[in-house]
């Protein structure tokens, strides 16, 4: 094995789930061996209940395996055994995770959802800004970066309703603060009211959208928000659990482009579970097929998906 080409090496991972009462225990992962290549997109496919998410949970520390080892190689070729680590330690090494069923912090605004993913943790100690003035600058930079990422990831998904809403809001604010408009030209403290009149509508809409609760967005947009959150972090490897599940074709395209761009341009390695075979064929470099907790096939996506056994057992063709 060439270490420089491998970012994650899984060796002999097994996990047994113990049933309650008289129920028998069963192996959900059986002697899993696999490798994720650096800077490449590796797909993991398999039917529901095959153990794919369990494997992701083991890699990211949310579940413990009974045996085996998981080695992560960082950019400096330091090796880390992930098994004894807790999830936050694993994430701090540079392994990000997109969950299948959780996507956003629903009661937080869009911008906060992205900001919380920042790899820069300065200022997260209580009252840190009192002791270190530079933290305000760090936070401003972080916010700018988050706004840029949101623009790139979500920019053209704003719906007509959202645009109409922005327009109505601008009209409403203009009416409300009309009496301050003359003042805004002369008295600096009223400048922000003047901004309502002078700010371009696109900026107003963006500001409105940035500070709207994440739960107000469509499911597809929420999926993009969770990806934007991962882009804020400083990750070497991303574990993406069904990134395109339940979203419309237009957003699927956007998600796939974003993932591909990350791998090709930023050199981030991606290990993703996916049921959308077009997506796998389009962006994945390698593919593993998992059946009942066992890795049975590995190769290029075309090879694996073209395998008669995989076609019969997974695709039902």
């Amino acid at each position: 094995m060439n270490r420089t080409q491998t970012i994650l090496e899984i060796d002999g991972i097994s996990k047994r789930l113990h049933g309650r009462g008289n129920q028998e225990s069963f192996l959900v992962l059986e002697d899993i061996d696999l490798e994720v290549k650096r800077g490449k997109i590796t797909a993991l496919i398999g039917s529901n209940g095959a153990g794919k998410t369990t494997l992701f949970n083991v890699i990211s520390g949310f579940s413990r395996s009974d045996s085996g080892s998981i080695i992560f190689y960082d950019e400096q070729m330091n090796t880390y055994n992930l098994l004894p680590m807790s999830p936050y330690q694993i994430a701090s090494l540079g392994i990000g995770r997109l969950f299948q069923n959780l996507s956003v912090f629903k009661n937080m605004s869009l911008i906060e959802n992205v900001l919380i993913g920042s790899g820069e943790k300065d200022g997260e100690f209580p009252f840190a800004s009192f002791f270190k003035k530079s933290i305000r600058v760090v936070e401003q930079n972080r916010t700018r970066m988050a706004e840029d990422i949101i623009d790139k990831v979500l920019g053209d998904t704003y719906t007509k309703t959202e645009l109409d809403f922005g327009e109505r809001k601008k009209e409403k604010l203009s009416q409300k603060f009309r009496f301050l408009h003359p003042l805004s030209r002369f008295v600096s403290r009223y400048k922000r009211y003047g901004d309502i009149f002078d700010t371009p509508l696109s900026k107003m809409i963006k500001n409105d959208i940035f500070y709207r609760d994440a739960s107000d967005f469509s499911f597809g947009q929420q999926r993009l928000i969770s990806l934007a959150c991962l882009f804020m972090g400083d990750y070497d490897l991303l574990l993406l659990d069904e990134p395109t599940a339940g979203v419309n074709p237009q957003i699927i395209e956007k998600i796939l482009n974003a993932i591909e761009k990350m791998a090709k341009e930023s050199g981030i390695s991606v290990f993703m579970i996916e049921h959308n075979m077009d997506a796998v064929l389009k962006i994945a470099d390698y593919c593993y097929f998992m059946d009942d907790g066992i890795i049975t096939h590995f190769g290029s996506p075309a090879d694996v998906l073209g395998n008669p056994k995989v076609r019969r057992e997974y695709l039902g063709i």
Binding site: F62, F105, M108, I116, E124, P126
Partner: protein, 291 residues
């Protein structure tokens, strides 16, 4: 006038208590039943700081808050890895233990007889805060400063992580944040707010006994936080004003003293039921507690 100032002082003290509770409930999704324990620990440590150590205002305040934070670690370190009902039960147990110590450890706390003649604090050994107007001013300044501090705290990156924990703990952990550590910090800060309230209460009333720091008081603070609404600051202020002014309103409409406390309990109970049904976020809350 003194009557209105007394109301103001009590509102200020309860704002501190409810802010602390709000940090746990509304920002971290932790339901604690031991807030009165920290309130009591703060009050008894105040007695120790002022009567035994003869500290002046600021050193006494720092001593009381630091002592209560240490006490909060005793409960938070072993219990904050638990979730939901289990965590609530541990805080309930801690409340019982602290109350039992306050009630039965007579050499330390004077037990049910309480401690009287608590001195009013002095600033730098020179200026003594005495009288109701002075106390109204002091509590208003401290309560306003605490609100400002709380605002800075919850709007900072620290507050953002807490709100993340409130919404999806697992996702915060997967973003590289040690959720347990943040919860311990939130619990400690919440206890420090309660300790400040205990400090002001002990020095204002100049007499404390364990009956002021019971499980009922914890539930009362929790109800006030829920009535006002959690997840923002205004809800805590409204909650404090509501729970302090309402008994006075009941008194003003001449309900006999013998049944007034019961009527108050009935109204609280009804309000909680109505609120939980029609407005689970509280009067002005932003966030609805989830199990």
């Amino acid at each position: 006038m003194a009557y209105y100032l007394h109301i103001l002082i009590m509102i200020n003290i309860y704002i501190l208590l409810i802010l602390g509770m709000n940090l746990l409930l509304g920002y971290t999704n932790l339901l604690s039943l031991c807030h009165a324990a920290f309130y009591g620990i703060g009050a008894y440590l105040t007695v120790f700081a002022l009567m035994k150590l003869n500290l002046s205002f600021f050193p006494a305040l720092i001593f009381v808050c630091a002592g209560t934070v240490v006490a909060s670690l005793v409960i938070s370190l072993p219990s904050l890895r638990l979730h939901g009902d289990y965590f609530i039960l541990v805080t309930l147990g801690f409340m019982m233990v602290v109350f039992s110590i306050m009630y039965n450890c007579v050499p330390l706390t004077n037990g049910p007889y309480g401690i009287s003649d608590i001195p009013r604090p002095t600033f730098f050994g020179l200026i003594k805060v005495d009288g109701i107007p002075g106390y109204a001013l002091l509590t208003t300044v401290l309560s306003a400063s605490s609100i400002a501090l709380f605002k800075v705290l919850v709007q900072s990156p620290f507050g953002r992580v807490l709100r993340g924990i409130r919404d999806e703990e697992i996702m915060v952990e997967s973003l590289g944040r040690n959720v347990f550590f943040f919860k311990v910090l939130a619990f400690a800060i919440s206890a420090a707010f309660a300790a400040l309230a205990g400090f002001l209460y002990a020095t204002y009333v100049t007499y404390i006994d364990p009956t002021s720091f019971t499980l009922d008081e914890s539930i009362f603070i929790l109800s006030a936080a829920i009535i006002g609404g959690t997840g923002n600051i205004i809800g805590s202020i409204v909650g404090a004003i509501f729970v302090i002014i309402m008994p006075e309103i009941i008194r003003a409409i001449h309900i006999p003293d013998t049944i007034a406390p019961n009527v108050r309990q009935i109204i609280y109970g009804m309000l909680l039921i109505i609120l939980m049904y029609f407005r689970p976020k509280g009067l002005l809350g932003k966030y609805e507690f989830k199990k």
